[in-house]
Symmetry: C2
Subunit: 623 residues, 2 copies
């Protein structure tokens, strides 16, 4: 067990790592989008989430399980997990910025006490099964989500313990983990939860407590996939990644969130057991995923049907599912790969996902969320509004508290240390404390490409400052090494400054021709931001506009209602004649000529749906 474990106050503390993580409170984020998200998370999202813990029935269900409440069970069988994620969000928020009035501490303490009362003496804890189906405990793991809920409990308990909010929640978690170990490791029950998640959570619980059986159970749950041990739910074996042994699987399949949480667990187990083959299989799937099954926004999951991955190159912008939870699980997985390998490509993908697929999940005011994150919205808004606009909450509310727990822990993902020095993975204005080093960071990123580091204090002697050079930055002031980082080794002293210049020239990006659904289109990026076009910003119908190939991209700073100050990008375009109202749209003959020149105006994708429910496109046809 790493001697870090007691000291990393954050989600991940591996026993061995090429890059060692910092605590959440080792990093202060003073501004920029990440800083803003953390502020509204605290002021708006988390309070909304805490209300919903009562309104949605998550807490009332547990009172019923404790024999204290009235009424009936509300919501889904995995409703407990909403509370666990909310607890984790609050714990990391406390770690980041302890609140003076003790409300967060009280929430954790009261929840832990209720959970302890609801928990059965043998350690089992699940409101749905205890209240509604006590005769089916562990009998229908293919869809029960019992271990999935347990995993989120373990993650909440680790967060509370590391955030200094006490060990009561940890005691509840350990009793449940010990039950799982007794039944599924020692007593030989080969059951596997159809929804992966507990694996990564068990490993973190092992890292915190030193209890080796937790790690062994996680490994068993991973090794037993692909043997048909998960009973059919009618969704097929791909859905729950039970089609092949993990070491043999070459591509991501099935339900996206399940697959991605599984990968986080795979890397965790591989790192703690030194299993190079297992790690290599995850890297292999990562490469295939990035090359063939990832949206430009970093989103994963092409299909509503099954909330699942599609086939290679099946990446429709309109029907992309890109569940918010999948973006979060992707960040978890990539962070583990980054710590295990030190390669900047994982931090690149974290950045792309964070600033696009993930950031788009929350409204500018922090009170509404997306479950599904498409790259195109048409005008036919008689669809169930569930899929059209962000919403305050959901019947299946896995996404909002998941968003909150990532936002409150963002500081953990900014920088790491190794024996050479400090590596910076994400660019935010604020302070980084790593080992004996304190760095002040000033930047207007992602609106400005300059990042200035000032050494506030440093130990004596030379050390290396490594700065990730994103693959999209072409005319950068400093070149990366093969690992994707520029390494500057000096005898850094208090007062020393260093400025990195990233290239924020806007880019026209083309999809590979194999992606059928994007053929003939282009997208606009600037820095880490993917842009999009919303009808409200155009001077003509967006469905009839096309971008001029090779158009110059002009940045324009503007203050938009509902969003605030942002940078728009304008480009020359043409307006095309509208579609005929009659007849099959398949014809011989030439395409109609443009009607008139026009201008296309793009806004950062993550800022979409903050004004109205109109047409939106990331990918725009080229004229």
């Amino acid at each position: 067990m790493s001697d870090l474990t007691g000291r990393v106050r954050g989600p991940l503390a591996p026993s061995t790592a090429v890059q060692r993580p910092l605590s959440i409170d080792d990093v202060e984020i003073h501004g920029g989008p990440l800083g803003r998200w953390q502020r509204i998370n605290r002021e708006a999202s988390i309070p909304l989430g805490l209300e919903q813990m009562e309104k949605s029935g998550a807490v009332p269900n547990l009172r019923l399980a404790a024999g204290e409440g009235e009424g009936s069970f509300q919501g889904y069988r995995f409703q407990d997990s909403d509370l666990y994620k909310q607890l984790e969000a609050v714990a990391w928020e406390h770690c980041r910025h302890p609140e003076p009035d003790g409300a967060h501490r009280a929430f954790v303490a009261e929840s832990a006490a209720l959970l302890a009362r609801a928990q059965r003496p043998d350690g089992y804890l699940n409101a749905h099964y205890q209240v509604v189906k006590p005769d089916r405990i562990f009998a229908e793991l293919e869809y029960s989500h019992e271990m999935y809920c347990a995993g989120h409990l373990f993650q909440a308990a680790v967060a509370a313990a590391r955030a200094g909010l006490g060990d009561d929640l940890l005691a509840v978690a350990r009793r449940f983990a010990d039950l799982l170990v007794r039944r599924f490791l020692v007593d030989g029950d080969d059951g596997i939860d159809g929804h992966a998640e507990v694996e990564t959570a068990l490993v973190e619980l092992y890292r915190l407590t030193g209890e080796r059986p937790y790690l062994d159970l996680a490994r068993k749950l991973i090794d037993n996939r692909g043997k048909g041990l998960i009973k059919s739910t009618g969704m097929g074996p791909l859905y729950a990644q039970d089609h092949l042994p993990v070491r043999e699987a070459d591509t991501a399949v099935g339900h996206a969130v399940r697959q991605l949480y599984l990968e986080a667990g795979v890397v965790d187990v591989a790192v703690e057991t030194g299993d190079a083959d297992l790690l290599a299989s995850s890297v292999r799937r990562w490469e295939d995923l990035v090359a063939t099954k990832t949206s430009i926004t970093g989103g994963h999951g092409s299909r509503h049907d099954g909330e699942a991955f599609g086939e290679r190159y099946e990446l429709p912008p309109d029907r992309a599912y890109n569940e918010s939870c999948a973006a979060i699980a992707s960040i978890h997985w990539n962070w583990r790969l980054l710590l295990a390998t030190g390669h900047g490509r994982y931090a690149d993908l974290i950045e792309r996902t964070l600033y696009n697929a993930f950031a788009a999940s929350t409204s500018a005011d922090g009170t509404r969320f997306f479950y599904v994150n498409p790259l195109q919205r048409r005008a036919d808004l008689f669809e169930d509004a569930y899929l059209g606009r962000r919403r305050e909450w959901f019947a299946c509310a896995c996404c909002p508290p998941n968003i909150m727990r990532l936002v409150s822990s963002l500081g953990h993902y900014v920088a790491t240390t190794d024996d050479e020095g400090v590596s910076v993975h994400q660019y935010v204005p604020g302070v980084i404390r790593a080992g004996g080093v304190v760095l002040d960071v000033e930047t207007g990123y992602p609106w400005d490409g300059r990042v200035r580091f000032t050494v506030r204090s440093a130990p004596g002697g030379p050390w290396t400052l490594k700065l990730r050079i994103p693959a999209w930055s072409t005319a950068t002031t400093h070149d990366p090494g093969p690992d994707g980082y520029a390494a500057i080794r000096r005898e850094w002293r208090a007062g020393d400054t260093f400025t990195l210049g990233l290239d924020l020239t806007p880019r026209i990006v083309r999809p590979h021709r194999r992606i059928d659904a994007l053929r003939g289109c282009a997208a606009i990026e600037r820095g880490p931001l993917v842009y999009c076009f919303e009808q409200v910003d155009q001077d003509a119908g967006l469905d009839d506009l096309a971008l001029m190939p090779g158009a110059a991209l002009r940045t324009v700073e503007r203050d938009l209602p509902g969003i605030g100050t942002t940078v728009l990008i304008e480009a020359d375009a043409v307006r095309l004649p509208p579609a005929p109202a009659h007849g099959l749209p398949y014809t011989t003959g030439a395409d109609p000529a443009p009607v008139a020149p026009a201008t296309l105006t793009a806004v950062p994708y993550y800022q979409w749906d903050n004004r109205d429910g109109g047409v939106m496109r990331v990918w725009i046809p080229l004229a």
Copy 2:
């Protein structure tokens, strides 16, 4: 009631029509694809279906309902409808070509007797609800399919009666229809089946029997949609077309088969009640559907999720659902619009659907079927094989018997009469008997564009021969009038001949730019046939081939294993470099140049999947 009713031995006998239908046995189809499909339907598909009526549990379930069988209910709650469609298929087949050994007659008689024994005294008949959930009869219409099954029973009974197979099935049907009338019309129960179908069936039962309440109930079931009377099933109000009153709906929505069966009922009710507004609403939705929600194959339903229509212009070739039942329902609807209006555009769409989306549903040997009919299949064949290759049967087996009943009744859709003469809508070699006219038809259509009509006998005096001129035929020997037909009025005499020449020059077809998923692609058509590319016919990887714009299309007759003689189309193409294995597929910079010239070889789409499970595309990228 039309004086035709007693005399049309076929699916449709409206009381009033611009074009009056013929009986199935008024038309002999001697060859061509339709003739071949009828032969294998009889020799292979129907026998397979009859076996499946036992194996799938459809008949055993009814024995249970009659108190005669052993075991438990098998299959879906709508399993009865498989038997009803099978009965209808056999009845029309008997009408078309009575079999000498009486096996079809016996099947109908024995089934009718079993159904009469299973039927409750009050007329109710539904094996699932009688055996499994007798306490929920008519209590969960939103998903029970009780009226859906009744509708298929009515259509089977009409078929048996018109085919001269007796009235026993009709007696069973009338008892059930009378029950529905008592409860849902007279006694005021406002329930509506979540799956439309009974509406069109009730109207045909009215046409056969003269019982006005059947028509009134059908009208009520249509008029009551859009009032929220269909309880939620979690699929939303669009799914069952309960979002708007029918007269106000402008576009097809929700589950495709439900929407299209509903439209058939809408036109039926409009025609029988003289409701011009109702008919106009259906025409309006037809125009929108054709312009924005129809595949080039005529298929309907863009989404697996909900088996549903997508938004306008959402027409992905890979994830197109295009359920076989939807193609059949589309043909039913278009036929009703054709008879009601006389316009050739409906026969054009019937032809497109018949020769492409519908024909693709069945293997060349008639023993395997598609439920889903995509326009692209990728190489990732670890998907559930259910969706990859045609299959002998399905757990949800709505499609195969539906296919069989359409194929056996195809003669009904070939020609019609009006006061002026005879109209020919589909071109087949064989004989057409209409009024006093007998026409011999010789043609190699769709492989040859010439259709020769020889008058075998005719009444004296002038009459008009109307021949549909498909919209795709440019250099035709005869021009159409505004209704889409060339009208040749003469004093036709025995021995007169007339040859129509349709233009079978192969065509490169482009999608309208609004269809995002098809941008940058083209498809090949020849006559009514849409073509496709199968990997097995290419000399390089199909995923790396692109069609040269303006390429000459060369027809090649070839004998293919598993298919027989067919006409392929070759075109000049280029081979492009394969996709990189690493990195996000979104880049700046120019597209890679072609590697080498190549040839693309296309085969008729309906003949695909008869050789192997390889990559297939209808829409091919243009170089």
